[in-house]
């Protein structure tokens, strides 16, 4: 028995969300009284691999191969499923990231495993059942699913589990998978990453703006606010539909669902479809000139006022705060 966690890297580096997933998987392995094994695919430094021990991995399997330099979900899924079989893993944990979403369903089918995606809590194992809480209805609700299969796959939502340092350095072993040619039918030609931007899906702080900003030319202050906070930028659907902002910033029921620690909504009315994707944020700040805007009903803090006056003042206030701390 063991728990296997896939540790995703971006350009050879682990992000905080990876440590979250390892911390979570370590808690799952505690619950099941078994050990945690991590599997990494790609070129990650030895030190970074052995550091995963700090978050609870007893052993790290390292798969480094030219064939797997770029992400090919079929091949990656095969490697992870093979490792799960060889290590007798009863639970496989992954991040519910863009990459994870392409992997976890394939792994679940390979292992004939029940899949709990978008998980937000540790499983409960009362009375010989294995249940997990996950988000559903685009953030408007939660569903509890019972996994009845022998092997189980869990895809953890970003920002839903605290990092926990528990162990020390772990040992790293090379893992040699068997390759199947038929797993290599996609070819990555290019990866474009905006390195100066914080990725929205797993951002801890988000500054979001809507139609109240009047036009794309007014986004400089939104970006400045996000910049000094170290936040990702987001927008409402009409804003991306109008081409003021790229589609990948669109949050809500038909966009990305986010659950940051802080969500600042500027000039967004708070339509039900928008709220669906943001209401699980821990703290919500709303800036809107209309005191009747529905968004105030789900906010923790609200400023009734004109964004064009409030945002510059807020930027100054944060600068002053940062200067003192």
């Amino acid at each position: 028995m063991s728990v296997l966690v896939y540790v995703e890297n971006a350009d050879g580096k682990f992000k905080k969300s990876t440590f979250e997933v390892v911390s979570y998987a370590a808690a799952v392995s505690d619950l099941l009284k078994t050990e945690l094994i991590a599997i990494s695919i790609g070129d990650v430094k030895q030190d970074d691999l052995s550091n995963l021990g700090k978050y609870g991995a007893a052993k790290v399997l390292n798969v480094s191969s030219d064939k797997l330099k770029n992400f090919v979900n079929q091949a990656y899924a095969s490697v992870i499923a093979e490792a799960a079989k060889r290590e007798g893993s009863s639970v496989v944990v992954l991040a519910n990231s863009f990459t994870g979403k392409g992997l976890s369903p394939r792994i679940a089918v390979k292992l004939k495993a029940g899949l709990a995606d978008a998980a937000v809590e540790l499983p409960k194992t009362d009375n010989n059942t294995f249940t997990i809480k996950r988000t559903a209805f685009s953030g408007k609700a939660f569903a509890t699913v019972e996994l009845n299969s022998e092997v189980k796959v869990i895809a953890l939502n970003p920002n839903s589990f605290q990092l926990k340092e528990s162990g020390s350095i772990s040992k790293v072993e090379d893992f040699q998978p068997e390759f199947r040619d038929s797993d290599f039918r996609t070819m990555v030609s290019e990866i474009v990453r905006a390195s100066d931007k914080i990725a929205l899906p797993d951002a801890e702080l988000v500054v979001s703006a809507g139609r109240g900003m009047k036009g794309p030319e007014n986004w400089a202050m939104i970006e400045e606010l996000a910049g000094i906070l170290g936040a990702a930028t987001a927008c409402s659907k009409p804003v991306s539909d109008a081409g003021w902002r790229p589609h990948e910033e669109h949050v809500g029921q038909t966009g990305i669902a986010v659950s940051p620690n802080l969500y600042i909504a500027i000039g967004i009315s708070g339509a039900i479809q928008h709220l669906a994707g943001v209401s699980s944020s821990k703290t919500i700040v709303v800036i809107n000139k209309d005191p009747e805007a529905p968004f105030f009903k789900v906010a923790d803090y609200g400023i009734v006022g004109d964004a064009f006056e409030v945002v510059p003042k807020l930027i100054d206030a944060i600068k002053a705060y940062k200067a003192h701390s």
Partner: protein, 245 residues
């Protein structure tokens, strides 16, 4: 080129989500169901690619007879024909196993799904289908172009984009950017009534997961309203009270 588009039937986006008294079932009373918004994007791209005699578009849905209006809508938008697997769509594993079983020997070059269904948001069907059929699957794509038999795709990744190529057959799940949804015109609506809709009985599939209960997020405490001039106070509250900065 034969294209299969998977469509789901979901509660309208304005739906207030409630459950029955013991929280074990979604309360569908008074809920209007629609064609999943992401599936409209997948369907629109399929129709564009097939236009001008370049191919055919079949839509497939796993669901009961009550969802036929959604299938007819897809036909009205421009699909050539439709298949309904006559079973309640228990979970994504069940749905993808049914679609795989139906499509495995039908020679589809491309299977498109939506990025996710807006009710269960699994984003699972495309990749599961790919695995059942042992063909590539690309999740959450933003662009899809075909040049002879090579397909170029752009997929979303954290903080960026990945460009890739794939050969037929494959599955891809479509997000915004792939196409603009199409609105059915009068001719489409009329012809949808007579386009073929085949009903197929389901095959047996193991049940690996069960939805046991539901809940809604806890309501927030009351909001603290500040004036235009209290931005410093807001920053201090975010630091000392909310502890988020």
């Amino acid at each position: 080129m034969k294209i299969l588009v998977c469509v789901s039937n979901v509660p309208d986006t304005t739906t207030k989500i409630t459950f029955n008294s013991d929280n074990t079932q979604f309360n569908t009373a008074g809920v209007q169901f629609i064609l999943n918004p992401y599936d409209e994007i997948a369907l629109a791209r399929a129709i564009e690619l097939a236009e001008g005699g370049k191919g055919s578009v079949t839509v497939i849905h796993v669901g009961e007879i009550s969802s036929e209006p959604t299938i007819r809508k897809a036909l009205a938008i421009g699909a050539d024909d439709a298949v309904r697997i006559n079973a309640s769509p228990r979970d994504s594993y069940f749905v993808s196993a049914q679609i795989a079983h139906y499509s495995k020997d039908k020679g589809f070059d491309m299977i498109l799904t939506g990025r996710e269904s807006i009710d269960y948001n699994g984003s699972q069907v495309a990749a599961m289908l790919g695995e059942f059929l042992d063909i590539p699957s690309i999740s959450i794509i933003k662009k899809l172009d075909i040049d002879s038999d090579k397909t170029s795709i752009i997929r979303e990744i954290e903080g960026g984009k990945e460009h890739l190529t794939v050969s037929f057959p494959f599955v891809a799940s479509c997000a915004e950017g792939v196409a603009e949804p199409k609105i059915p015109n009068m001719r489409g609506i009329m012809s949808a009534r007579t386009k073929p809709l085949e009903v197929v009985e389901p095959t047996e599939v193991d049940q690996l997961i069960t939805f046991t209960s539901y809940s809604v997020p806890a309501p927030r405490g009351s909001v603290t309203i500040l004036s235009q001039d209290e931005t410093e106070k807001l920053v201090s509250l975010l630091h000392t009270e909310a502890k988020v900065i």
